[in-house]
Amino acid sequence: MIKIAIASGKGGTGKTFISTNIFYTLQKKNFNTILVDCDAEAPNDVAFFDTELISSNEVMQMVPVINNENCTFCGKCHEYCNYNAIFLLPPMKIINVIEDLCHGCGACTVACQFEAISEKPVSLGQVTSYSTYDTNSIIEARINIGVMSPVSVIKAAINKIDTEADIAILDSPPGTSCPFIQTVAQTDYVILVTEPTPFGFSDLKQSVETLRIINKPFGVIINRADIGNNSVREYLRKENISLLMEIPFKKEIAGLYSRGKIVAATDMSFRKQLQEIVENIATDGNSSN
């Protein structure tokens, strides 16, 4: 199977637009395709398709529970906790777990010598699978409101990918920090979506630097290609980065997308272009292996 991530440093450049349209295009070509919505803070891919729910699993994390009767207020758990999730005031005999800060590493349970710490699971979010049309499916990562980091839920969603499928498309969260890295880490190729504005350009450079550090092959789609200026194109040329496609800003495209419609369903030349991009990635990937 080949895994392709759709990513961008800047938000709102069109990751979801490209991901959903590529997914649709590949389905129509009868590829067994999985779309993974890794934007767990703001997942939207499912809204673009008629889907049927297959299954939904809670993603859990362990957090400590303190048994005040056994606790001697020695402070060792507080010392072991690297996330400041244990609040302690020994003279007042106060000890509290701040669950929002806990990462579930278990260090406090190892630290405690008095059997005063047990653990309970709490939910971080859900991984939900949906089917579309025949064999194709969408896997959605979604964190609960108030949860700090989407990383565990993203990992759980990626682990659900059926490797028997032909292609997986991973719709990445924006930025270049941990959630983005977790999404692209196990993919074969990354499509960066940008727009030719100063903000888009600045964030693109940051994405490129990051992907070069972790040694991922990638190419760039310029969305809303007729706004802004030429800096992005000049940069791509100078840096020898492949420009996969340019998509002009059209009110019709924006209108269709805003209503949750797939542009590739009606725009055949757009569909053909997307198909060629994926075919080229697949051939290059196979030839280099």
């Binding site: 800047k10 938000g11 997308y257």
Partner: protein, 289 residues
């Protein structure tokens, strides 16, 4: 007064609107809290006065000359970061959460922690006041802590220069850095766009904001790209007691301003969009609690 501009969905126009707010009238402190993709410095080109190293966390590193491959660390690690590779215990930098537990329990003291010291916070003056921004190094976590640092610095500058208004340009999503941007602010301005993703992401963000209970306002940016979706958003806001402070139409001058390194107000203070932004700002600022 601290005013946070956030959005849920990326690319709805947070930074352009923050830049406009920052150049409306009196001098302000402007803090770019989108530490993952800071962009406002591109518009305002602030002077370089202070650079502070931000330690985002640490990663476990194994000393193979001391390691006996006993595997105890593997049993304790809950992040699947330690595995046997070619019969040798190895730690994945990508998966390591920096909890320090492996380093604490290693009987041979073969594991040490290496700090991530590549992220930075910068501050300086710009043409309408003082500016602070953070830049998180690629792949790093804990962006919320860097946001806290940026806000602390902004507050300090606000006191030092007697600038009452602090504008926070927030990150997308609903995770850790957004929570850090929201905590304890006086006003929240949500910028959304009339798309199905814009609506969903705004609803999730509103759910998060409820937990913090600040005074929240909504701006529908590019509302004329889909008027019926805009109406739907307005209706939802009314039902959920979020006042719509204003609607801005799609305007190519917003990109033009960015290209010239100006805010939309600086580009043309008397254009329709500039006038509307002024009205919105006055609504937000003058509302008595």
């Amino acid at each position: 007064m601290e005013i946070a501009v956030i959005s849920g969905k990326g690319g709805t126009g947070k930074s352009s609107i923050s830049a406009a707010f920052a150049t409306l009238n009196g001098k302000v402190v402007l803090a770019d809290c989108d530490v993952d993709a800071a962009n406002l410095y591109l518009i305002f080109n602030p002077s370089y006065e202070e650079e502070i190293v931000y330690i985002s966390g640490s990663k476990a590193v194994i000393d193979h000359s001391l390691c006996t491959n006993c595997g105890i660390c593997m049993d304790y690690c809950r992040f699947d970061a330690i595995s046997l590779i070619n019969d040798r215990v190895s730690i994945s930098e990508l998966a390591c959460d920096g909890c320090v537990l492996c380093s604490r329990i290693c009987p041979e003291n073969a594991i040490t922690m290496a700090v991530n010291a590549k992220s930075r916070m910068y501050s300086g003056s710009f043409r309408n006041g003082e500016m602070v921004y953070g830049r998180l190094s690629p792949g790093e976590e804990n962006s919320g802590k860097l946001v806290n640092m940026v806000r602390e610095k902004a507050k300090q500058l606000s006191k030092e220069y007697g600038l009452e208004t602090v504008i926070l340009d927030g990150p997308p999503g609903i995770g850790c850095p957004v929570i850090s941007t929201l905590t304890g602010v006086d006003r929240v301005v949500i910028v959304t766009e009339p798309t199905i993703s814009g609506l969903h992401d705004m609803q999730r963000l509103a759910g998060l904001i409820k937990k913090f209970n600040p005074e929240a306002y909504l701006i529908i940016n590019k509302y004329d790209l889909n008027i019926s979706m805009s109406t739907q958003i307005e209706k939802w806001c009314e039902e959920n007691y979020i006042p719509v402070a204003g609607k801005l139409s799609f305007d190519k001058n917003v990109v033009e301003a960015m290209l010239q390194g100006k805010s939309i107000i600086e580009l043309n203070p008397y254009s329709n969009i500039s006038k509307k932004i002024k009205v919105i700002w006055n609504k937000i600022i003058n509302q008595k609690k």
